[in-house]
Symmetry: C2
Subunit: 617 residues, 2 copies
Amino acid sequence: MGRVVFKKLVNVEEALEALYEHVKPHPLGVEEVEIKEAYGRILGEDVIARIDLPPFSRAILDGYAVRAIDTSFASETNLARLKVIGRIPAGEPPLLEVKEGECIEIDTGAFLPRGTDAVVRVEDTSIDGDEVMIYDSVGKGSGIAAMGSDVYHGQFVMSEGKEITAEKVGVLAGLGYHKVDVLMRPHVAIFSTGNELIEPGEELGASKIYDVNQYSIGALVQKSGCIPIYLGIKKDKIEEIREAVVEGLRCAHVVIMSGGTSAGISDLAYKVFDGLGGPGLIVHGIAAKPGKPTIIAAIGDKPIFGLPGFPVSALVIYDLIVDPFLRVMSGKKDEVRRKLKAKLATRHVSERGRREYLPVFLKHRRKALIAVPILGGSGAIASLSSADGFVEIPENVDLIEKEETVRVDLFSDARSADLIAVGDSSPISQIILEELRRSGEKVRAEFRGLEHGLTWIRDEIADLLVVCRPEGEPILDPSRFPSRLTNLRNFKMKMVWASYDKEIFYPGSTFALPRIGSGLRRYAEDSIRRRVKDFDVIETWSYDAAMDLILNRRATSALLPLYIATKYGVKFIDAFSANVRYLVCDEVLSTRVGKRLLRRIKSKELDLTLSSLQGIS
Amino acid sequence: MGRVVFKKLVNVEEALEALYEHVKPHPLGVEEVEIKEAYGRILGEDVIARIDLPPFSRAILDGYAVRAIDTSFASETNLARLKVIGRIPAGEPPLLEVKEGECIEIDTGAFLPRGTDAVVRVEDTSIDGDEVMIYDSVGKGSGIAAMGSDVYHGQFVMSEGKEITAEKVGVLAGLGYHKVDVLMRPHVAIFSTGNELIEPGEELGASKIYDVNQYSIGALVQKSGCIPIYLGIKKDKIEEIREAVVEGLRCAHVVIMSGGTSAGISDLAYKVFDGLGGPGLIVHGIAAKPGKPTIIAAIGDKPIFGLPGFPVSALVIYDLIVDPFLRVMSGKKDEVRRKLKAKLATRHVSERGRREYLPVFLKHRRKALIAVPILGGSGAIASLSSADGFVEIPENVDLIEKEETVRVDLFSDARSADLIAVGDSSPISQIILEELRRSGEKVRAEFRGLEHGLTWIRDEIADLLVVCRPEGEPILDPSRFPSRLTNLRNFKMKMVWASYDKEIFYPGSTFALPRIGSGLRRYAEDSIRRRVKDFDVIETWSYDAAMDLILNRRATSALLPLYIATKYGVKFIDAFSANVRYLVCDEVLSTRVGKRLLRRIKSKELDLTLSSLQGIS
């Protein structure tokens, strides 16, 4: 067989250290951009003011430029009277000089005339012929922005390497910068390897899946302040991968590939770097979960990161290893990742000797915050995209007890869930929950069947339980239902057997059935077994997917709600009726989201929507 | 005179309400972009999965696809033996079906063959001829990612209006999206008005200043998720402003102008909207500090915001009024603005009846956090750009006591200062502090003279006091120095009188002198007075600026350090020597930044740098 099994695993810090020994990241140099384009870029030069700001002492009020001493005794009852000898509009040079007993009318922003040291605001004056009467004394410097008071000529204003905020764009403009030096953005070549991968948008053939990593990594590369260059999908062939690496080294400062690094073909990955130059392969395998099959190599001063093929693993390793490297190059500081403490909602077993990065989502339980592990596996990008953060579990910990306090590293878009729905999946749920989502509630639907749902309700993780059962069949053992659940509403949904064939139940037929967790699977399978012996089942997560299977002739028949069969115009015969019950935890009913749910589930709009679907009542 | 004084001021909420009565912000519609370009955009459609993800049940390990039941008794001592009937590589359709006692070699990612329900990992097996020996039992579903287990066909995956994160780009790719609908970015036309304004990069004539607002607002508009269109600088003339508004309404969805809205020319601003259509002017003046001279108008469904001309006022009002409006249009959610509590470092008097937004910077004082008001005035954009956040002071509060706890709304780049230097300004300080900044310390320099410096040292705001005095002159009253100050080092700096004229002290001459706060101003002025009666003074904040003044013949002579005069090759005569002392608070010396300062100030590198500057020792 000749398969390589990983042996010399290093941890994340050791991996970075090994890389830094060969290649130290550093900014690439600067380029000049107009300040219109400078927002969000990283300053590539120290900014030292070449002018004063303001460049001259100026009025910050509309009023009269005076010698402060001439107003020193002014009050409401003892007006100061000064002769107005002229007016200075903003933008005009001040040609007059003010002497004792005189003043000049002045606009906001105008140059303070010689001899004056304060501006009296117009609201504190009134005009009497060619004199102005002043109701209040002003101090020296009042109503004035002194030359250089914001920034002085020669002042160190901003240092290289700082991100240019909107305010800093303003400072640069004020100092007369039309263009500014910013750090160049590194180019990062990205490709995916895998014979099973195809590009999004192409026809999805059997046994193929769409490439995720090129695009999620491309987006992360942008987040790290770099420019992605997409090299496409490569087959798991040494020549092709090698060519892509060479192409990446030619056109970019860093190369990231993903896939092709698991044990199955890792011997290929090894050979890719042979003969391209030193130092070659640096790290092969990381003691992290997920992310074990990671490789790091370098040719000359350009690093090559080989990330695992599984999307979640690739993202975790990118975050831990690639992102810190790229941010040194781009100069872009990492956003401060907030951390908070929460109680782990369920017991979690970890693998000793590997550091685990466990994605979790957050939920408020009364006043406390709980973190619920997301166990989608490292292929499950959608699960990860719904995570609020992760818990780092050290190598020497193999168990975290339920309710134990853990530290969660939050993602930037973290937000604890308002409502968690569990139980059996049903197309009705989507119609109900969609409206809650629209009104801004964060709703998580985790329809993994009644057993899982009851556990989460009992563990006080979930709020809403959906139970779907054939009509007349009891909901398992009613005594197992927590008493604090209130039945909000029952729906009836007519189910049919649909097919494009003449017959539905014949030997060798293949049925598309809802998966375990629909509440109907076992009953449906029994129904078939009563009519035919030899049959196959393809399990689907939704009725749309089941419809797809009979449309594509991958299944001969499907169990569908009546309204879906009629929508697609497929032939059908009656199967049975299902009851869909919505049960909610009592303590939720008094919350904002609980009240919204109650209103929604008993609303006329919902009745109207459902009445348009044949067979639902 | 005919000047208009603001009368009907509304607060921020009332202003927004008045605007919303006439114009409700809403997203503009969608455009299609490739997913490569989708990162950071706002989703313009609900994403409902049109396929299962994964699209078929697949191996997530390299190993053997088996019937789990065939391994149920396997252990290290009781191996299960299964016949290997073939191999399925990733990307290939599974042509074989597995029966009892059989298995198929399978690659990570490959299609799970018919009849199997688990994958045994290769590490738990060994090969014996055409059989594989299995050391451990596996459960049903083990080593498999089931079809639809990440996302099922028909699943509601993401809702319209959500920002597309890197993970979501991955989900879209996995679901086969090559392109995706995103919300269109609104176009925002921006112009500045003011006869004193010129474009950055142009020659700065007398009484002119560079336009700040177009560029800082342009950057903020990008931050709000919109596209800025720069219309340039307009004169304070009704026809020109009116033309610009019409042009803005033609090419953009929103118009923002700034300046031209203060009392001096507000009657112009009023007339701008006459005859352009309803509803016209909606708000004229806001009860906020800064930001009073704000106007809001609308023509048809397009709003026009007239922001104050002062850069800081413009930014505050943008933040309070324009940003919320634009973010509804662009769909971009505001970053969560963190808030924290701190003690106000100094007593602050506010104006009753106007809500004040007081910019502050943060400093750690032992374990507590203090907020120090930034009193640069509303023209001071550089001061604002150095703020960490602001304190909102309600209309009915006119005083906050020193040490009172306040809530600070943090800017995203907030970071408390590590070292605050105060006292007299000296060119030596920049050389010392620059290196600290390079090593990552956040250093604030607030050289506003000895009086201010002593106050901040006593109030425990500042850490480093710089005192510059003519040689032989005492540092005012030594008893006024807090005893917890340690003198780190003294420098001697030779000062000269420099000029391009033959003579320096003659009647009518104009001297460029360092400002009050340099420690030398009074002494220098006395020196001149002893030699000449009739003279003028221009105060500068730096010696570079003073040099500039004699270069441009705006001053006849300047007081400069010897090394600056020799650097520019200007003629000079000796003036006097100055002592520059660096005194540090004792408690700082044990901190990281304190140790760095100590090391720097006594370093060979500093000696080397200073010895290259003539006249410093």
